[in-house]
């Protein structure tokens, strides 16, 4: 296990390194964005040149990358030229509410997906199964940015069940107004649930074709007992992997949901920064998400081996 872990960690570091190169290079393709964006369209070429010099943008891309990477390795994400604040501070202000939203959505999704998937698998081919399959297909295919406004239109504007959206701009405001999170979380859950319940259904069906299930049923064990003692336990193993691998999707979904419901989280910050050519912030959030993604898939692999003694990582 240890050699595998070491190799996997090295791979993760290499991946992050490539991410940093690609992200940095992409951002600095910007034609004349940063300084021009900061100083306005009427800035003279001299002013722009001076600003670029101050920001270090007049050096070659490789040197700029070197400086940025050195700072990054010391835990410094740089300073935002737009907000005049350190990127870590900006991210710190936004991380709490985003993580809270995503974690709530993930928890509720898993709690719902298991019973739904089990129900479908044990009644495979029935009307219930087909109905739920169709519903989850729609849930998967309908974009988050459509579901969000739809829910808002129905439950806020027409039915008044949920108060009109207040902006959530800190972790504290997310905590003290749980009613504001109902629709955002529901939107994310609708999107995620389809994939998860399909996965549980497939995993359950995989187990149900195994010989040990037939043996258990043949020796007279009752269906419920076979389900809880044998099938469910084995079918739940891949869930760990799924949760690990669904992190990028969750981040992307949260970005849109934040936009729809005026939650000033990490996704909101990224979009704002992108609109204002604030490359330092976009780079920072991109690296953070990439880190989460890589860590997620690493955890997925490792937890799979930890949970299933048959899996040997070499």
């Amino acid at each position: 296990m240890t050699p595998y872990l070491i190799r996997r960690l090295l791979q993760a570091v290499a991946t992050l390194f490539i991410v940093s190169i690609v992200a940095f290079w992409l951002l600095h393709l910007m034609p004349d964005g940063v300084a021009r964006g900061l100083l306005g369209p009427r800035a003279t070429p001299e002013l722009i040149a001076r600003e670029e010099h101050q920001l270090g943008l007049d050096r070659t891309l490789v040197v700029q990358y070197g400086i940025w990477l050195t700072k990054l390795l010391h835990g410094d994400l740089g300073t935002s030229p737009v907000y005049h604040q350190s990127v870590s501070a900006l991210i710190g202000e936004r991380l709490g509410q985003s993580a809270y939203l995503a974690a709530l959505a993930l928890l509720i999704t898993v709690l719902l997906a298991v019973p739904v998937g089990v129900l479908q698998a044990t009644r495979a081919g029935s009307l219930t199964d087909h109905t739920l399959t169709t519903l989850s297909f729609v849930g998967y295919a309908v974009p988050v940015f459509f579901v969000g406004p739809l829910l808002r239109d129905v439950f806020q504007v027409r039915l008044h069940w949920v108060p009109i959206a207040n902006q959530i701009d800190s972790f504290h405001s997310a905590l003290i107004q749980p009613e504001q999170l109902v629709l955002p979380v529901a939107t994310l859950v609708i999107g995620l649930l389809a994939g998860y319940s399909r996965y549980v259904r497939s995993a359950m069906l995989d187990e149900l074709t195994q010989d040990y299930v037939r043996t258990a049923v043949a020796k007279g064990a009752r269906g419920r007992r076979v389900l809880y003692r044998h099938v469910l336990r084995n079918a739940m193993l891949p869930m760990a992997t799924l949760i690990g691998l669904s992190l990028p999707g969750l981040v992307g979904g949260a970005l849109l949901v934040e936009q729809v419901f005026n939650i000033q989280g990490l996704g909101w910050l990224t979009v704002q920064a992108a609109q204002r050519d604030d490359f330092a912030v976009v780079l920072g959030t991109t690296m953070l998400t990439a880190l989460a993604t890589v860590a997620g898939s690493l955890l997925a692999d490792v937890s799979y081996a930890a949970l299933d003694p048959r899996v040997r990582l070499t």
Binding site: P31, D153, G252, V271
Partner: protein, 317 residues
């Protein structure tokens, strides 16, 4: 959830698909195409989806011939009017006729979606085939790069590609294509790894066939199924990606705005209850995405037939 991210890893799904291609067909032998068509036609929803897509193409390209909604003029006297005589879908915040705009924006959505979907398929297939066939460190380097690219949230990549390179249709097509080929490339690489050890590839190499010939004549035709299935799904993803960008306010500027842009404009008036500005473009996006996905799913059953396996029933249902 459609997330601009690699699809959920799916274990074999023994519950679905009839495996129509494997059934011995009664009667005279039929061509591969006919059998494939028959397998496709069994998916009623997918057939309906093809119909929906055809309707949208007719609507967007032939609609303007019959319906002359003026989409170029701003009329201050007619802002955000509900549907009524002479304006079947009402007007938007600039007094522009919504039905005419729906046709115009639909053309943008369909063109960008299909073009970038096709482009992504070409890139993904070629990259995967080359990596898989080359093997060794070339393969390792190429696939690690793909892993790294997949770790960048695609929404982020799109956001700054669009924000930085100027907003033209070409930039959007390239940006979306360049961020949506990773999944397909992994599949094609997997296919290629399996194909390159087949006897007929070895035979071709022994007879002096060079790598380009082996790739184009023997490997790529056999991965075509994967490519075709995924092109349909990639087009759905591209339409989604374009709509996301427009929704975030980073889309194409008017008059090249797409359905996502119309939807975003309408969503800004949600609290006022101007439903005619939200639902026509929103539902159009949903219908096109769902249809492309349904077609892709049906094509998968045509190209990759699977037999249902024996599932033990825990209780009679």
């Amino acid at each position: 959830m459609r997330m601009l991210s690699p699809a959920f890893p799916e274990p074999g799904d023994p519950g679905s698909s009839a495996g129509a291609l494997l059934e011995p067909a009664p009667g005279p032998p039929r061509s591969l195409f006919r059998r494939g068509l028959a397998a496709f036609l069994e998916h009623k929803l997918a057939v309906a989806a093809v119909g929906v897509l055809a309707c949208y193409i007719v609507f967007c390209y032939l609609g303007p011939v019959f319906y002359h909604g003026d989409t170029s003029q701003v009329r201050m006297g007619e802002l955000t009017r509900p549907p009524g005589a002479g304006r079947p879908l009402g007007t938007d915040q600039q007094g522009v006729d919504e039905l005419g705009k729906l046709m115009r924006s639909g053309r943008v959505t369909l063109e960008v979606g299909v073009t970038s979907g096709l482009l992504a398929s070409v890139i993904g297939t070629l990259y995967g085939a080359v990596a898989g066939y080359a093997g060794g460190w070339v393969d390792a380097l190429m696939m690690r790069t793909v892993d790294a690219l997949m770790a960048i949230p695609i929404v982020f990549a799109l956001v700054y590609l669009a924000a930085t390179r100027g907003r033209t249709k070409t930039v959007f097509i390239l940006a979306i294509a360049l961020t949506s080929w990773f999944g397909l490339t992994r599949l094609t690489r997997g296919d290629t790894l399996a194909l390159k050890v087949r006897d007929y590839v070895a035979a071709c190499r022994m007879m002096g066939g060079r790598t380009p010939r082996i790739l184009t004549r023997h490997i790529l035709p056999n991965t075509a199924g994967t490519t075709i299935v995924n092109t349909s799904l990639t087009v759905a993803d591209s339409v989604f990606a374009l709509s996301v960008l427009s929704y975030l306010g980073l889309g194409l500027p008017a008059p090249d705005d797409d359905w996502g842009g119309m939807f975003a404009a309408g969503a800004g008036y949600l609290d006022q209850g101007y439903w005619w500005m939200i639902y026509p473009p929103g539902l159009s996006i949903v219908l096109v995405i769902v249809s492309c996905t349904l077609v892709g799913d049906a094509l998968r059953d045509v190209f990759e037939p699977r037999r249902p396996q024996g599932v033990t029933r825990l209780w009679p249902s």
